[in-house]
Amino acid sequence: MHPVTPVRTYVLIWLTLTILTFVTFYVSTINLGEWNIVVALAIAGFKMSLVIWFFMHVRTDNPLTKLFVFAGFFWIGILLVMTLGDYFSRSWMPLGKFW
């Protein structure tokens, strides 16, 4: 069983998440070109980490659970990276570009 997290911690995390949501929204109204998506996804990734670490108790979990959580994201990464690798490397071929 997990040690009990104080209410204060949960409320602070919630506040952080809410503030970050506003930040994401605000940044999206500024034109940063290619970096808009990077910033938005980076903030989303950070929010996700907060939920996983605190709300889902991974902070106090055993290493096995942490390994499996990491593995899940790593695996979807395999699908994304290797599939997108195909599409992005097509332009390196003489007749390759798809679109």
Binding site: L17, N31, L41
Partner: protein
């Protein structure tokens, strides 16, 4: 080492399943099992996100055009609602762990209210798309015309809107299932089932709920915000 039967009678909870040695093993197995299940959910949603990413990188201008018809205010409201529901869910699990029956029930009800609010807002959103003719799945409700809808992107926009509905649709389906799970947990809580020695179902349901929240945390920027600056509506 003492044989299993002796160990079982020492701290035998009425909730201990026969094939487990003790409540600790049972709790550990249940939470680990839920994480393995969430792993499959990561791969399920991830597959969809991957396909969507491929098409977005193929058709950036079409995507920018479709983002004119998304309402970021709805999206942001939904994000805020879900984040609060995660807070109340975490507090519910905490209350169950501490045996605080009243707090547990209040937090569960609040979580469900916020979850339902999410679905209501989603409903409004879908209705808007239906009326606007932005639902590619049904003939008569897909109309790609007007100044913000360049005709050369009609097919690509249709694909991207399909993904919008599939991704938010599967997510909403998971929310509905989540509400069903919460109802069951609430009924069990009202019977006084949970306490410091047994709150596994609450913990495990909490994990599921937080995961559904996380999917939305990614859906919001991907579907509503990117390209938002190009044609601010």
């Amino acid at each position: 080492m003492a044989d299993t039967h002796a160990v079982a009678t020492e701290h035998s909870s009425p909730h201990l399943r026969h094939h487990f040695d003790d409540m600790h093993q049972q709790f550990d197995s249940a939470t680990f099992g839920m994480w393995v299940f969430l792993l499959t959910e990561i791969m399920f949603f991830g597959g969809m996100f991957g396909a969507y990413t491929v098409y977005r990188s193929m058709y950036p201008e079409a995507f920018a055009a479709t983002s004119n018809f998304m309402n970021p205010a709805f999206g942001a409201a939904n994000t805020a609602v879900l984040i609060v529901s995660s807070l109340t869910m975490a507090l519910a699990v905490r209350a169950a762990h501490l045996g605080q029956q009243k707090v547990l029930q209040i937090m569960l009800v609040l979580t469900m209210i916020f979850g339902a609010a999410f679905l209501v807002i989603k409903g409004f959103e879908y209705h808007e798309h239906w009326v606007d003719g932005k639902v590619p799945l049904f003939p008569g409700h897909w109309m790609w015309d007007g100044p913000l809808a360049p005709p050369q992107f009609a097919h690509q926009a249709q694909i991207l809107f399909c993904f919008y509905f599939f991704m938010t649709g599967f997510h909403a389906l998971h929310m509905i299932v989540g509400l069903g799970i919460m109802t069951t947990i609430l009924v069990m809580a009202r019977k006084g089932t949970f306490g410091p020695d047994y709150y596994t179902p609450v913990e495990v349901s909490g994990l599921y709920w937080h995961f559904v929240d996380i999917v939305w945390i990614f859906l919001f920027p991907l579907l509503y915000l990117i390209g938002h600056t190009k044609n601010l509506v």
